[in-house]
Every structure is written in structure tokens, then in C-alpha cells.
Amino acid sequence: MDSEMLNRSGIKLLAPIGLVILAFIMPYIVGSSLLGIFALLIIWTILTLSWVILYWGGLISFGQAGFFGISAFLLHLMYVNLGTGWIMGTIGGVLVCVLIGFIISRLTMELSGAFFALSMLAFHYFSYQFSLFTMGDRQIANIPQFPAFFSNSLVTRYWFLLIIAIVIIILAYKIRTSLFGLQLRSMDKDEIAAESMGVNTRRNRMYLIMISGAIAGLAGSLYTSHYGFLTSFTIFKPRFSIWIIPFALLGGAKSPFGAVLGTIILYAGDRLVLSAIFPEFHGIFFGLAAVLVMLFMPRGILGWVKDRYGIEIP
């Protein structure tokens, strides 16, 4: 192994560790208002990853907020009716999201791109209307806190979110680099060819929607406990389905790190700069980002870096 390769592998190992350490000591660097934004950024990252995992299998979803909100409501309902804490409530919510993912995958098994995407949007609105029908639009504050030590302060909550996000990023990376991820890649390129090479596309598609639903549901219960209250409107906000798409595509949706990068750039850019300058119109920039990325940089920043400098980030 020559020195250059050693250097590269060293950088490959050191850069992520350095970033993780930086993220963990962030509370000592920035103030509490900025830390609140970072905490939300982490939840957005998890939600974006749930979208990106679907995207790897060639599926586009416009309705991740459906899973997000259902899990958040279940967290509240199980707390009130069964007295469960955050961990059990989240497990229950995530399991229900997996079940719903199974049902959705059964219903939409034969649908191609646009039909699946709009079915997911219908799922988002269906769950929103269903929650309005059953719960009304009152404000609910009976939400369990994060487990024991982590609910103490904003800093500990931030660490809790960070730990979960890192686990999810590693999980997404493992999915991407595993045999399952390779099968997803082949499904994305050409579904019929993949099927004839022996890839069980129907089963993979089912797993994909279930995994994505579970991660989106986890993000929902994190968000709710972090905020401490919910209404039908706040938890099924259209932005939870809309913004994650430019987030993922700007960074380069083929890689989990691209999704994280896009979320950091757009969300932090929005909260720190755009929404301060254009308080009424800052939502436009997410649509603009989606259109411009699609027209001029369809593979995102990481794809551009790879073309330009030959650096490939998995």
C-alpha cells in the first residue's frame, strides 16, 4: 500500500469521525437558538433519508408526511390510552407504519412512477383528513418525553436526536452497499431486466416501502416529542412531503451522504438566511431548487463533484 492510498483511506476514515465529533460538541460552540435549528435539521435529515431509500428503488413518494403524522398521533394515543412511554410508543408507531407500508405496497404493487407518487400524495391527504375526522383540529399536549436522561434539556435532546440520526445514516449506508442495495439499483435502472436476472422486484418493493415508512414514522415521533404538542395541521403539514425532495436531490440522492448534505445546505440556508430576508416567500426557493436541479444538475452536488473532480463518495 503506497502512501497516497494510505492517505486516502485515512481521510476516508478520519473525515466522518471528525464530522461526528464536531456534531457532538456543537452545543458548546453555538447558542441555544441555533441549536434548536440544528435539532430540527436532524429530524429533517431522518425524514429525507426515508424518502431517499425509496428513491434508490426507482420510486418517488409525495406523501412521506402520512407516515410521519400517523406515528406522531399513535405516540400520543398510546400514551393516553395505554400509558406507554416514548420507547414503547415509538415502537408501536413504527410497527403500524410498517404495516401501513405493507398495505400500500400491496395496493400499489403494479403502479409505475407517477401513479405511485400520486398515490402516496393521496395517502398523505387521506391520513390528514382521517385525523381531522377522528381528532378534530384541537391542540394536543399529552406527549411522552424522550427517555430518562435525554429529556432534561435542549442539549441532551439534541444528542439523542443526533445518536438516532447517525444510526439511521449508517443503516441507509449499509442498505445502499449491501446486496439488497445492488438489487434496488438494478430495479431503478430497468425493472424488467432486473426481474429477468432473478431479482425479486415485488418483494424488494414491499420491503422498500416498509423500511421507508418505518424511518418516516420514527422521524414523526421524534418531531412530536421534541416539540411537545401536536395538531392535525402541524403534523400533516404539506412541507413534510414537499421540502424533502429538493433536500435529497440537491445533495445527490444516490448517496445517503448526499441527502444529508442537501438537507444541511437547504434547511440551514432557509432558516438562517432566506426566511429572514423573505419571510413570506421563502417556500418558493424549495420549488425553485427542485426545478433547477432537475434541469441543470440532475445528479446533485455529489454527482457534479464526481464528474468534475473524480471523487466518488458512496
Binding site: 409505475s112 412512477g113 398515490s119 400524495l121 391527504y125 387521506f126 416567500f281 420549488g287
Partner: protein
């Protein structure tokens, strides 16, 4: 037991809302047929049409439907402006690119309307020469808003049908939607027809939006909901057939109205999305096609 007057009342309401859905959905069906693009901006144009109606009514204070006349040409031009630089670039690049672009455009439309007109619900109190409604027979009301919707949508749908079935441009549009490559050999210019078809679809969507502005209050985020309705109507009509789309839209309107009357309007929405799942699941394109 439901009385006859209630049934007639429900029939009037079903007809008006069904015609509105038809007007919104037919444009989507035309655009999908010609360009193979699921036009996600559609709902945004619908809501834009509603706001145009609001502006025209507040500015000119017409109490007749004349204000609806300039909206269709304005929307046609807007559609052409959208199509030529943006949508034309994503035609034939696959559903992924066109969908995300459309989704981005929809977001731009919704957010700019939200910024300009505030996120609050808007409502027009529409009257026809001072009347809020007419009593057709004792117990059966025809509100002015519903009459306005019927008066806008029936001529618009007839005109659209005439345009597609009886004119040369309509023949070209049908040829392109059947097989673009062969129609090109027959001397049709698909590029030109694409923006004309897109403009026509956009104009019908904006007229549907005017109907919405008369019928019920709206907020910018209804755009997503109307994209779904337009898509559902187009799917029921087999992604291209206008008479079938209109029939499906009338059926949807009837289901919505009767459920809202007998059960609850929120439950009607829940039922609506269940219908969406089932019918898109049955009639959606097979994978790999």
C-alpha cells in the same frame, strides 16, 4: 325516507361539482395524452384561476360571469410560457424528471400565491343580478354560485370537445397522443402541438379555478388536492378520453355530495381518497409499460 326535493337538490349539487371536476380533470387528460407528462402544476393553475377570479371580481365588480372570459386566454398564454422553456425540456426524459420538475413548479405556484394573498381562506359572495339563489320549485334551491359553475363549465367543456373532435388542430393533438413518432411522419409538428395542448389544458384548469372561486372558500394549499382530483378524473377516463372523464367526474361529484349530505363532509374526503387508491390501483398503468 328521503324526499324527492332532497334528491333533486342533491342532483343539482352533484351536477355542479361533477362538472367542475370534469373541467379540472380534462386538461390533465389532454396533457398526459399528448406529452406523457403527469402535469403536477395543474392544481396550482386551478388555484391561480381562483385567485384570478377573485381579483377580477374585486377590481371590476362584475355581477355577471363576463369576468370569466379573459381568464381562459390569459391562462393559455401562461401555459405556453411554462411549456416552451421548462416542460419542453423534460418531455421524454422519463417520469422521474418531469414529476420532480412539476412538483417544484407546483411548490413555486403555491408559495407565491401564499405570499401574495396570505394563507387565509378566501371567499367570494357571488350573486347573479343581486340574487344569492333561485327557487326552482318549492324546496329546491339553485344557488347563484352553483348556477355560475354550470354556466361556465358546460360551454367550456363543449368548446373543448368541439376543438378536439372537429378542428384540424384537435385532430393533430389526437394524432400526437396516439403515436407521436408516426404523426410526425404525417406532417404534424409535435413541438408546436405540445405547447398548444398544454395551453388548452392550462386554460381549462384556470376556468375550473374560477368555478371553485364561486363555489367554496379556498386556500393556496388546495392546489395539491386539486392536482389529485384532476389526476383521478383523468385516470377514471383512461388517461385521454374526454367523454369518459366527464362521466367519471360526474360520478365522483355524486359520491362526494351524497356522502357529505348523509354523513359528514370530512368523511366524504376520507372516502374520496379511498376511491383514489382503489381506482388508481385498478386502472393505473402497469409497471414497465
Amino acid at each position: 325516507m328521503v324526499s324527492g326535493t332532497v334528491l333533486m337538490q342533491l342532483a343539482i349539487f352533484s351536477l355542479s361539482i361533477g362538472l367542475l371536476y370534469a373541467l379540472v380533470g380534462v386538461g390533465m387528460a389532454i396533457i398526459f395524452g399528448v406529452m406523457d407528462v403527469v402535469n403536477l402544476v395543474h392544481g396550482g393553475i386551478v388555484i391561480l384561476g381562483a385567485y384570478m377570479g377573485l381579483v377580477f371580481i374585486n377590481t371590476f365588480e362584475f355581477n355577471l360571469l363576463l369576468f370569466a372570459l379573459p381568464i381562459a386566454p390569459i391562462a393559455f398564454v401562461l401555459g405556453a410560457i411554462l411549456e416552451i422553456p421548462i416542460i419542453e425540456r423534460v418531455v421524454g426524459k422519463g417520469h422521474m424528471v418531469s414529476m420532480v420538475t412539476g412538483w417544484g413548479l407546483l411548490t413555486i405556484a403555491v408559495e407565491s400565491l401564499r405570499g401574495i394573498f396570505s394563507p387565509n381562506p378566501q371567499l367570494i359572495m357571488f350573486t347573479i343580478s343581486g340574487n344569492y339563489g333561485f327557487e326552482l320549485i318549492p324546496g329546491v334551491q339553485l344557488p347563484a354560485s352553483r348556477a355560475g359553475v354550470i354556466l361556465i363549465s358546460i360551454p367550456a367543456l363543449l368548446l373543448l370537445y368541439y376543438f378536439l373532435e372537429r378542428t384540424k388542430l384537435g385532430l393533430g393533438i389526437r394524432a400526437v397522443s396516439q403515436r407521436s413518432s408516426v404523426s410526425e411522419l404525417m406532417g404534424v409538428n409535435p413541438k408546436r402541438l405540445r405547447w398548444i395542448a398544454y395551453g388548452v389544458g392550462t386554460a381549462s384548469a384556470a376556468l375550473g379555478g374560477v368555478g371553485i372561486s364561486l363555489m367554496h372558500s379556498w386556500v393556496p394549499f388546495y392546489a395539491h388536492y386539486y392536482t389529485l382530483i384532476a389526476f383521478l378524473v383523468a385516470v377514471i377516463g383512461g388517461m385521454g378520453s374526454i367523454p369518459l372523464s366527464i362521466g367519471g367526474a360526474l360520478l365522483l361529484g355524486t359520491v362526494y355530495t351524497t356522502t357529505a349530505y348523509f354523513v359528514d363532509s370530512t368523511f366524504a374526503m376520507v372516502l374520496f381518497f379511498l376511491i383514489f387508491f382503489v381506482s388508481v390501483g385498478i386502472m393505473g398503468r402497469r409497471r414497465g409499460e
